[in-house]
Structures are given as C-alpha cells and as structure tokens.
Symmetry: C2
Subunit: 625 residues, 2 copies
Amino acid sequence: MNILDILVGKPIRTSEERAEQIGPAEGVPIFGLDSLSSAAYGPEAALSLLMPLGLAGIHYILPVSAAIITLLVVVYCSYRQTIGAYPSGGGSFTVARLNLGPSAGLLAAAALMADYILTAAVGISAGVGALVSAVPSLLPHTVALCMAILIAVTILNLRGIHQAGVIFAVPTYLFLGTLLITIGAGILRAATSGGHPSPVVPIPPPPAVTAAMSYWLLLKVFASGCSAITGVEAVSNGVLAFRESAVDNARRTLTIIIFLLAILLAGISWLVNVYGIAATNPGQHGYQSVLSMLTSAVFGKGAFYYLTMGSVLVVLSLSANTAFADFPRLCRAIAENNYLPHAFAYRGRRLVYTYGIVILALLCAGLLVLFGGVTDRLIPLYAVGAFLAFTLSQSGMVVHWHKHRGPGWGPKAVVNAAGAFATGITVVVILVAKFAEGAWITLLFIPLTIALFVAIHRHYHAVETLTACKAPVRVAGLNEHPIVVVPVERWSDITRCGIEFAARLSPEVIAVHVETSERADSLGEEWKLYVEKPFLDSGRKPPRLQMVPSPYRFVIVPIVQYILDVSNTNAGRTIIVVLPELVEGKWYEYFLHNQRARLVEWVLIARGNERIFTVTAPWYAGHRK
Amino acid sequence: MNILDILVGKPIRTSEERAEQIGPAEGVPIFGLDSLSSAAYGPEAALSLLMPLGLAGIHYILPVSAAIITLLVVVYCSYRQTIGAYPSGGGSFTVARLNLGPSAGLLAAAALMADYILTAAVGISAGVGALVSAVPSLLPHTVALCMAILIAVTILNLRGIHQAGVIFAVPTYLFLGTLLITIGAGILRAATSGGHPSPVVPIPPPPAVTAAMSYWLLLKVFASGCSAITGVEAVSNGVLAFRESAVDNARRTLTIIIFLLAILLAGISWLVNVYGIAATNPGQHGYQSVLSMLTSAVFGKGAFYYLTMGSVLVVLSLSANTAFADFPRLCRAIAENNYLPHAFAYRGRRLVYTYGIVILALLCAGLLVLFGGVTDRLIPLYAVGAFLAFTLSQSGMVVHWHKHRGPGWGPKAVVNAAGAFATGITVVVILVAKFAEGAWITLLFIPLTIALFVAIHRHYHAVETLTACKAPVRVAGLNEHPIVVVPVERWSDITRCGIEFAARLSPEVIAVHVETSERADSLGEEWKLYVEKPFLDSGRKPPRLQMVPSPYRFVIVPIVQYILDVSNTNAGRTIIVVLPELVEGKWYEYFLHNQRARLVEWVLIARGNERIFTVTAPWYAGHRK
C-alpha cells in the first residue's frame, strides 16, 4: 500500500470531507482551466479562418468576438440559475433527465462524455504542440510528452480535488495575471497614441487577399470560436465539491471564470484589431502565435514575454483538467442511475471518483496514441457534444421553472429559454459548419453510447429483479450433512490438512485421485495407513478414495466431471469441494506449482450448480501454525 | 474447446501413443531439418569469409569442408553409441548428469537451451531473409513474416510429432532431391568435360585479392562452418519418439541425416571449386547466393532452378523445427529432475510437451521482435552452446563405458573420447574466433540459466521437505463446529442462499456488513424479518449480524480485518468464510458487478492462516435450481 500512499496520498476519512472541499480560489483553476485557456487559442482559431480576407479579415474579429461573448453571457446566466435550482449538482444529465425524461438525460450524458474525452485529449496535445513549436528538438517525443502530462494530471486528480486546486492555481493565476497586464498595457498605449500604437517588435504584414468575405465564412469563424464556452457545464455539475454555502461559492466561481474569460476575449480581439495582427500559417517558416505577436508588440521580447508565453503553454497543457474534474462526476451520476457500472460511483481513498478518472485517462491515452499526439483533427468534433448538452440542460430548466412555478418563475424561465435558444442555434451552426470536418463522428458516437447505457441499465434491472428476495431463510433440512469431495494428487501434509478439514464438515468425505501417473499405487497404501486406520481406530467411517481414470491425461476435466456426477446422482444434496492448496511466500513461486485448485474452482463456478460449493484449504509454506 | 480442436487437433489418448511414434521417414524432417538446411548456408558462410583471397580463396573450401565432414563423422559415431547406451533418451543433460555429476548436467542443459533458442530464431529469420531478398517488396513485412512462420511451426508442433513429420517431409525431401540431382548432374558434366565444365549461365568473376591467406582466417572459416553440426544432438535426445525398436530407428535416422549432409557438403564444395564460384556481397547489387549460382551454372535458370530455390527457402524457414522438436524434450528432462517448473513435463492433448513448445515460441518471438527479424548477429553465439554440450556429453560417455566396462568397452570409449576431443577443440576454436563477435554473450547466459535451475531445485526441495507427511490424520476434535463468517452487502436471494449454506456448516454463523452506505438500517430490519424470525421460530440460535464501520470507505480491508480478529480471539477454532457470489452468464457482465468476493478470497489467502477457509457460494443468474 506504500506506493499508493506516495503516489496519491494517504486515505482520507469520509468524515474529513469538509477539508477537501474548495472555495472559488481553487474552483477557478479546477473548473475554469478549460474555458480560460480557450482565450489562448480561440482568437487564433478565428483569425486563422479569416486569413484569406487579408487586412480586412482582422476587422471582422470584433463582431465575431462580440457574438461569442454575448452567447457566453447568456449561457452564464442560464447556468447560474441551474446551480441555484440543483444545489446537489445539476449537470445536463440530471437536469435533462428530471425535466425532459430519461431519454433526454441519456442523450445529454452521451454528448457530454464525448465532449470531455475529446477536450482532455485536445487540451493536452495543444499544450504539447505549443511546447514542441517552441522547442522543435522535442518533436520526436510528442506522444511521450503527452503521456507524461496525462499521467501528471491523472495522479494530481487522484490525489484529491483540494490538492489539484492548490497546485493548478499557480499557473492559472500567472496566466491570468500576465495576460491581463498585457491587455491593460496595450489599451493604455493605444489610448496614449490616439488609437494607433506602434508595436515594440515589428508585426508580420497581413497576408494577401485571396477570398471575399462571405457569411458562410463568418459562420465557420463563429463555430470555431464557440469551443471557448465548452467548459461552463463543469461548475454546475460540481456544486457539491464546494464548501458551504456551496451554491454561493459555485456561483461566485462561475462568475469569476466567465467575467475573466469575457475580458480576455474582448481585450485580445480589440488589441489584435488595433495593432493589425493577422494570423500566420503554422506550417510555414516564421510562424508565431497571435498571443506571441500581441505580447511582443506590447512589451517586446523581454523576460515578461517569456513569462507570459510559458504560462500560456502550461495552462494549455493543463486545460484537460476540467474534463478530469467533471467527467468522473458525470459518470457517477450516470452510474447511480444504473446506466454505467456501479464502480463509477465508488469514492476512492482521496474521496474522488477513482474509476471515472482512470477510465478518462485510459480513453484519452488511447486517443493520443492513436493520433500520435496530434489531435487538431478532433477539434471540430467536440463542441457539438457540449452545446447539445447545454441545449438539453437549458430546455430542462425551462420545464423545471414551469413545473414548480415558484415566485418570479417567469423571468427565470425566459433566461433559460434564451440560453436554450442560443445554444440550440449554435448546435445547428456547428453541425452545419463542421459536419464534413468530422462532427458526424460525434453523431455516431452518441447513439452507440446510449445503446451501451440502455444495455447496462437492462442488465442491472434484470439482476435486481432476479435476486430480489422477500422470502425468509429456509430452516428445514439444515441438519442434513453435505457430501465433501477432496481432489488429492499425492499424500502430503497439504492433503492431510485438507482431509482433516473435510472430515470436520461432514462424515461423508470422498477423496478423488486422477490416475495420470504411477502415483496411484503408493497413494492407495498411504491412504490405508494414514487415513483409513485412524478413522477405523476411533470407530468412524473413513473417507473413501476414489480413483478416476484419465485417458487423455487431463486433470481438471475428470475431477469436475466426477463432481457433477456426484451432484446429479445425489439430487438435493449439498456438495462441498475442498481444494487443498499450497500458499507460497512470493508471487513468482506460483509458477513452480500447478494452479489446478484455482482452475477447478473456476471451472466449477462456470459449469456447476447452486448445490456445489468450493472451499480453498490453504497450507502456508514457511510458517506452520 | 472447439477452437483448440481445430487448431491443434482432438486429444490423443495416452494409450494411442504408438500411432504417434515415428520412423526414419518422419524422423529425418523432424530431427534433421536443422542439420540438412545448413548445407544451404554453410558453404556460403565459408566462401564469404574467403572472399578477400579472390580466386585462390575458392580452393580453400575443399580442405575446410573436409575438416568439417571429418568432425561430423566423429560426432556421428559418438552419438550413435550414445543412442545405444541410453535407449530412453540420452541428451547431453542426461548423459553428463549421470556420468559427470549434476553440475556438468546443468552446464550442458543451459548450453543446449541457449543453442536451441538461438537456432530457432536464426533459422526463421534466415528463411525470411532469403524470401525477402528474392521479393524485395516484402522487406517492410520482415517481422510479420517471421511471426507467421513461427506461429505455423508452433501450431504444427503442438499438433503432435507425427503430423509435423508428415507435413515437413514434403519440403525436406524436395530440398534433398533437387540438391542431389544438381550435384549429380554437376559431377557428370565435370567428368564429361575433363574437369572444366562451362556454366550454362555465366558466373560472376571472383573478387579482387585484398588479403593474404592466414591460418587465423581458416580457423574462422572452420568455426563458421561448424554451425552445420549443431542439430545432431536432437536425435539422441528424442529416441522415445521413435517406434520399436526405437534405438534402431533412431540410429537409422541419424545415419541418414549425417550421410546426406556429408554428401551435400562435399558435393557443393567440390562443384563450387570446379566451377570457380565465389561468394558475392549480400549488400551489393547483383548479389546471388552460392546455391543459386551453382544451380544456374548446372541447369540454367529454368523451372528446375526455381523449384530448387523454392525448396531451399522453405527448408531454411523450417529449420527452426529441430529446435521445436528437441527443446521441449530437453526441458522435460530438466523439469523431471526438479530444475525447471514441473509444467514442462506435462504432455498436452497431442502427447507433446506443450509448455516447452510455447515457451520456446515466446522466447523466439521476443528475439525476432527485438532484432526486427534480422538475427545475423546472433549466428556467432549459438554454436558455442551446442559444442559445449557435445563435449560434455561425449566426455560423459567415456566415463559411462569406463564405469560399466562391458564387452568391447575400450574401442567404444575411444570413439567417444575422440568425439569429446574433437568437439572440445571446436569449442575453443569457436570461442577464440567468435569471442569478440558475441560468443561471450552465451558465456554470460549459461551461468545465469544455471543459477535459475539451482534456485528452482532448491525451492522444490524445500517444499517437498516441508510438506512431506508421515503422520496420520488427526481424528480428535473433528466434531467441534467451525465459526462461519458471511460478508453481506444487502439482502437478496444471493445473500439468503449464502446464509442457508452457512447455517448448514455450523450453528455459529456471523454475518458481517461494512457500513459504507445508508443500507445498514434497512438491512437490519430485513435481517430481523427474514433471518432471525425463522430461526427463532424453529427454536435455533439465529445468525448474528455484525456491523463493521469503514471510515475510509474500504470494503475488503474491514472484512478481512474482522475475520482475522475472529481468528485471533478464537484460538484453535476453524473459521469458514462463506462468500455469496453472483455468477453471470457472460464474462463481460462481470464488469458490471464488483468482484469483492474474489478480492476477499485472495486477500484472505495471502494474509490468513491455516484455520481460515473460504467458500464460494455461487448464485446462478438465469437458471434457478
């Protein structure tokens, strides 16, 4: 257990839960990294699409950003209400399920799961991509770097939400601080220079115009930018992680995240426009990210520049953490409704949902390995899931308000309806704009996942019904002794202990020996001497030694067949199979002995019936009692 | 079991062993492929080393071949005697162990194991190498091709020695036939042309002279050629595989193999000399193997040429089979003396030593993958092992004759002494000539393997001593009833069956429930209703329900701890732990349920004592009794 103690920390008592809960200070890094880091790549993604428009394209960044920020605010207001209405965690799954029915809940759950798996993989590979473009000699180690970050994030999350929050706080606040300073200084310079600041470091000239503006292009730019909003769900689903009063703390956290994100998006867009910064082509020589150009234009390439760029890089790599914070909570909610294996609802030694974290890490590792650590092509896929879940959640909230009709329910319903409408439109926009690029894959993943949910639910229900018991224990027949069967290979102390135990269980003991070697004769004599004699001497019926032939040299099959025969010819009787077993001190010593006892046990479980029970009679090498 | 039936065939009864035994016709392909195939690469290897001598180098092939054939005949005579002296299989391990002591036996065993593992890997990669040089587009699939051949050879060997012999007979005899025809026709042409035949297809001119002849070079050529002899051991170790009279059949097989190999080596060397065929460089354009040049010189590049080359390729690939035939027998002999896990002595469904075959295949696959299917660099390593084993075996035979001093023992001892001397010298030659090229690796492998043997032997001896039992069963105290502990998660039919079984074993039953959820209260009520009441109604002491707290949410640990506590406070009493378990119909359904019963069982076996027994009480989903 010591390795676990070092890796993920000592177990935390359930009663110490309070100490593990977090406030807004830790909440922002844990639940906000996904949203906030999108300030680093959102404007870049939009500007890349606008490149064919040349200098004119840069100006379109303002209306697009305004639209995105508006959507962000609408979604914020909606989710703020959801948090209040579902103080024990109101993820899309819960809200949709309770208000729109189980099917809507499963749809939201599947969509969100797809979103989180992709977010985690894309976040890590984006961070590594930024690092690799800064230090090209690391390029051959892309997958290894991705794995290293993935393992670090996984372990930090397994160590508990509180520690994760504290550790992620440093890069998060450094990132926020440096970017806000850059934006502030940029605005100041623009103001003092009459709106036309001269960059400290020259900016590459805008690309040549190769296309005319079209609404289709703007739609695509908007759809790309929407990935900035995908992390908002996490806070509303994780209300229980906050300390009292949880609702207030969760709301505060959400407010801080959205407010900061809006400022970053607006500030960056405005400065890009003022400085005339166009995106450069990542594939070509002289590529620089938009944030890099912006920071160097405002401050030059000094220490501050490198500090900013470093924090951007770290935050990008860690943006996967939001998925790690919320995916396990989502899985728990699904599992508690019997749509996923119950193990997802189990809280590990550090009070986190271990299985969800591990499964997300494995799926994410699979994606990263499959795509060689370059997951750009997954980006179009993942906003669909998030916005589909948002739409369902907000629609559910409208129904919720309408159902309860509390004081002032009207305006609240209107806010959520606005959210549902805005995100619904966005789903359609993303689907249309990104369908051919891969959004269809998400549309394929979602029904398959739902089918899995339904199959699991059906199975749990069947087992529940089958094993439900309203009958008392049957006391009749408890005195009837069982038939005990002991497979015996040779006469040894292990066998002796097994026989002694068997004789304790019942006066009717049968020892079975499979005749595969020449041992049968000597065993017969030892049996007479060491077993039959003491039994007869004390006036008891001795155990019977049954020889079973094995023309094919099999050992397991004849034993199991003999036991099944005994069971069939003794209808209604209980059969106990005693398996004498040598227990070794070291695990590798097991390779030196046949594991027939285990095999007999497994085959009996698979082929046996409810009247056959197997007992392991362990014999400990090294320490005799 | 159906897949196994198709892959390796239906089980063969032990009593049908006779039908599985082989005669010389199958013996040659099974035990001779390794030796015979060396006719295809032995002269080539020698000529390659002689290339720096130009045309003069070709002439040296005759004396070198003469030396190798002489050594072959000496080894043959020695082993012929060994077969007679050890009719139940006289491998180097057995002969050295019985005559020179256990240490010599282990040394021979380790050396031979190294030899076989390397032979198998080198044989397969040589065959694939020949194929790839013929069809260069297959080059990227080298490892896959190696694996395909390895799997085919493994499965054929698992199907039983008889089938393997029949299937391998076709390429073996095709190979022998075509080569013998080529040699015969070549000799005829040389005779009719007065010793100077003109090749049908022109032969590349011999390379320029770049070095002078040296004895050192000849020594290296001889050492390279010796790899031709490494397969001879196999027949003497596999005498039992032959049908009656086994000794005669084994001797006949060995005679045929050695006779054919000698003819092939002599014929090829002579013709190479007559035609003036020099080796070409495999790395350079226009490379052709020596056999290819020879066949085309005699017959031109017609259908016969391609038939010959095809059979050479197949025989090279299958030369690994000798290792597969003898390695498992060697391992069995070692295992029967307790130096390897006993599983190696187990004869599988087709009467072959399954574990040896599978382990060889795995080790071989490991080598092939590690070296990317190009194992040329392993060639220097493997002759050391074989010749070391030969030397020990022949020395052992000398001691054997001297010990028994039967009629005419003197000449026999002289023959074996000659064998021992010749092979001993060869070991030194190979070590000196090939030490730097990697023979030292074998010298490292051998002591490590011996250390493993010794450790295993020591362990078996310790267990044997510990468990040896000369005491009768203790009948006293058999009537004392055990304490039965039943872990209970919730009230269900599974639990009810478990309790009923527990009550059958003893009147003292304790049910343990770990308090991790809110179930405790309802369980308490159900317990009163469904368990306590019927027991009290029938005037029995009801089982006790024990609640165990779990501050860290662990389930396994508190249960195991409770059981250990019960065991400690009830010294001398037997504790039976009944684990009610749901048995699912499909294996994947197990993921939906916790496997706590299994875990409790494993932890109890590891941490428990000899008074604690675990019983699985299976409850079958789907079919109720």
